[in-house]
Amino acid sequence: DHQERRTYIVHMDKSHMPESFTDHHEWYHASLKSAVDTAEMLYAYNSIIHGFSTRLTEEEAELLQGQPGILALLPEIRYQLH
């Protein structure tokens, strides 16, 4: 279902942050809102990666992928205890 939302880790390239932003969180929000107005951020990641996680439809994910500064969209993976 193309309208069903899935969770993604959105990996951003901080070196592409426009100078108009002083805070990378603002940039994450702006990037997300420019592609998907209604999506909420679950986590903002600051050290292992720069980016955030959010819920997107397939169409929204494609739209976001096309934004400048997006390195990768990683679909949520479910891990199991061993």
Partner: protein, 658 residues
């Protein structure tokens, strides 16, 4: 855990072990199902103040407050935004929305790594003794990322990030997901960042053995841990009416069966449904099993659940028999009915007896805990096996550690079987998995870190690997329980961990962040993929990068077959590996030896002698492997040892033709 400290020799060499003060400076972050803070294994008596550099917190939540932390559990956090986004809000009537462990797994793993000493530990009298974690003075920081519906990568990434910020020294992760490239593997990405900050990351290899190529968590900057057995067993005896006896295993602790032989029946003949032999819920006909011992085949549902199905249908006991998929591997369970697990061979004989005798009878007896079982360790059948499914040139697993029938701390919320019907409350539970072997290595790495705080994660891994053993005291090679034959480096990696030897390895194969980035360049990673994996901006240069040159403490050589090279069947291939050893001991001369000399491959080490005159001095050598083309699937194994007469620095060599 009980027994594993003795099995690993931790009680033998106090002289080499770090002091409790230096061990108390090491913080182990455990990403799992949380902690049950009331466990005696988290008692902080005798521990000094929390290290001043620690930035972690004890987060509040359902049934958990900051007062649940102490000088043992110095941090406890929970991560569920990803989980709740997918599965909806956590049902707090079922599961605590806090670091509190509702499952038991996280309490088991964290107490295995660094639980305090508890006397009189046991599960219903089984495995009794003094329980302690491997680094019993180290601190624990719990990061709850796993919930009833699983562990989500968004939560895991957030937890890894927080653990790094908080200041953990060791990260222990007994979880795994589907196999994916390093740049798309959350654990690999998080572990790279951790490694770059000097944090040692150990992960479970997975429980998908004995099939080959089933490993998870295979990035070279992770220490991947498989599972072996202890010298401990919990024997149960099945006595048949025809006079034959079979030895199995059980942790049953209730009322014994009457002292007479009872009628028994094979579940496959006491059921009208497909798969009735598996004793699935409501599959047994009460009239066929009432008052009888029921033989159920393993698989399909949980092993203990089968006993409950038997009981509900009126049966009085259960014999759980392995089918071909499980072979002779026995797993001990705290059954709710008198029950014993048997291997496939015994199971087949029992089924033959039932089908040949209309009045077949049997009984089950239990004889507690047996120590000194030999041979041990053997590689557990469930332990995932190489070759490495992502990069065949990196041998995985890295090593094995105890992971079968491990007693350690447990949640007070559920019984030992985890089933709703199991209302028993316990402080310790006995369970198996690479989940159990991983925290053993995490705790042992903490000991090495305490003894050598300046060592990098790669140096600690090297010390653990190059001192691991592959043979028993009688010289025979470690066995694989799945086959009954000698195991190979694809099963045990460098071998079984020997922590006392790891404290004084003599030499180490060290590796830096740059070395791992060169490795990614050798995999032809683009700058974008390198950034995704490592968080660093790097463009590979025009120099020739080689996977074979990553300074890894083991060797995996993949020759192409003649058909792939396009050359004749007699085509000779040569592969050259470069390694660098760093002296971490006294000045010494080391000599190389390759054993056993494989018939199919010529292995040449240059130079064969390395002299070290100062600490941290580095010396490089090459290993050249030359072989004729062989049919695809051919394998060959050897070991390379550098020895100065006191230390033996051994690397496994696995050679395949693909």
């Amino acid at each position: 855990t009980t027994r594993t400290p003795e099995f690993l020799g931790l009680g033998r060499s106090e002289r080499l072990l770090p002091t409790s003060t230096s061990e108390g400076d090491v913080i182990i972050g455990v990403l799992d199902t949380g902690v049950w803070p009331e466990s005696k294994s988290y008692d902080d008596t005798g521990l000094g103040p929390v290290p001043s550099r620690w930035k972690g917190e004890c987060e509040q939540g359902t049934n958990f407050s900051s007062s649940n932390c102490n000088r043992k559990i110095i941090g406890a956090r929970f991560f569920c935004k990803g989980y709740e986004a997918t599965l909806g809000p956590i049902d707090e009537s079922v599961e605590n929305r806090s670091p509190r462990d509702d499952d038991g797994h996280g309490t088991h793993t964290s107490t295995t790594a660094a639980g305090s000493t508890v006397t009189g530990a046991s599960l219903f009298g089984y495995a009794s003794g003094v329980a302690r974690g491997m680094a019993s003075h180290a601190r624990i920081a719990a990061y709850k990322v796993c919930w009833q519906g699983g562990c989500f990568s968004t939560d895991i990434l957030a937890a890894m990030e927080k653990a790094i910020e908080d200041g953990v020294d060791i990260m222990s992760m007994s979880i795994g997901g589907s196999i994916s490239d390093y740049s798309r593997d959350t654990v690999a990405i998080g572990a790279f960042s951790a490694m770059a900050k000097g944090i040692f990351v150990s992960c479970s290899a997975g429980n998908s053995g004995p099939d080959s190529g089933t490993l998870s968590n295979v990035a070279p900057w992770i220490t991947t841990v498989g599972a072996g057995t202890l010298d401990r067993d919990f024997p149960a005896y099945v006595i048949l009416g025809n006079g034959k006896n079979f030895t199995g295993t059980s942790l049953y602790s209730g009322k014994p069966l009457p002292k007479k032989l009872l009628p028994f029946v094979y579940a496959g003949r006491a059921s009208n449904v497909t798969g009735g032999n598996l004793c699935m819920s409501d599959s047994l006909e009460p009239k066929s099993v009432a008052g009888k011992i029921v033989v159920c085949d393993r698989g399909g549902n949980s092993r203990v659940q089968k006993g409950i199905v038997v009981k509900k249908a009126g049966g009085v006991g259960m014999i759980l028999t392995n089918t071909e998929a499980y072979g002779e591997e026995l797993v001990a369970d705290a059954h709710l009915v008198p029950a014993a697990s048997l291997g496939q061979k015994a199971g087949d004989e029992i089924k033959k007896y039932i089908s040949s005798d209309n009045d077949a009878r049997a009984t089950i007896g239990f004889s507690g805990t047996q120590l000194g079982v030999q041979p041990s360790p053997v590689v557990a059948a469930f332990s995932s096996r190489g070759p490495n499914p992502i990069t065949q040139e990196i041998l995985k697993p890295d090593l094995i550690a105890p992971g079968v029938n491990i007693l350690a701390g447990w949640t007070g919320k559920i019984g030992p079987t985890g089933l709703e019907d199991d209302t028993r409350h316990i402080s310790f539970n006995i369970i198996s998995g690479t989940s159990m072997s991983c925290p053993h290595v995490s705790g042992l790495a903490a000991l090495v870190k305490a003894a050598h705080p300046e060592w990098s994660p790669a140096a600690i891994k090297s010390a653990l690997m190059t001192t691991a053993y592959t043979a028993y005291n009688n010289g025979k090679m470690i066995l694989d329980v799945a086959t009954g034959l000698p195991a190979t480096p694809f099963d045990y990696g460098a071998g079984h961990v020997d922590p006392v030897a790891a404290l004084d390895p003599g030499l180490v194969y060290d590796a830096s962040v740059d070395d791992y980035i060169d490795f990614l360049c050798a995999l032809n990673y683009s700058s974008e993929l390198i950034k995704q994996t490592t968080g660093r901006q790097f463009t590979c240069s025009s120099k020739a990068y080689s996977i074979q040159d990553l300074n890894y403490p083991s060797f995996s050589v993949a020759f192409e077959t003649a058909s792939e090279t396009g050359l004749g069947r007699k085509a000779v291939s040569t592969v050259k590996y470069t390694r660098t050893l760093t002296n971490v001991g006294k000045p010494a001369n080391y000599k190389a030896s390759v054993w056993p000399q494989p018939a199919k491959v010529q292995i040449k080490v240059v130079p064969e002698l390395l002299s070290f005159s100062t600490v941290n001095e580095k010396k490089s050598f090459t290993v050249t492997f030359t072989a004729n083309s062989m049919p695809s699937g051919t394998t060959s194994y050897a070991h390379l040892t550098w020895s100065d007469g006191k230390h033996t620095v051994t690397s496994p060599i696995a050679i395949t033709w693909t």
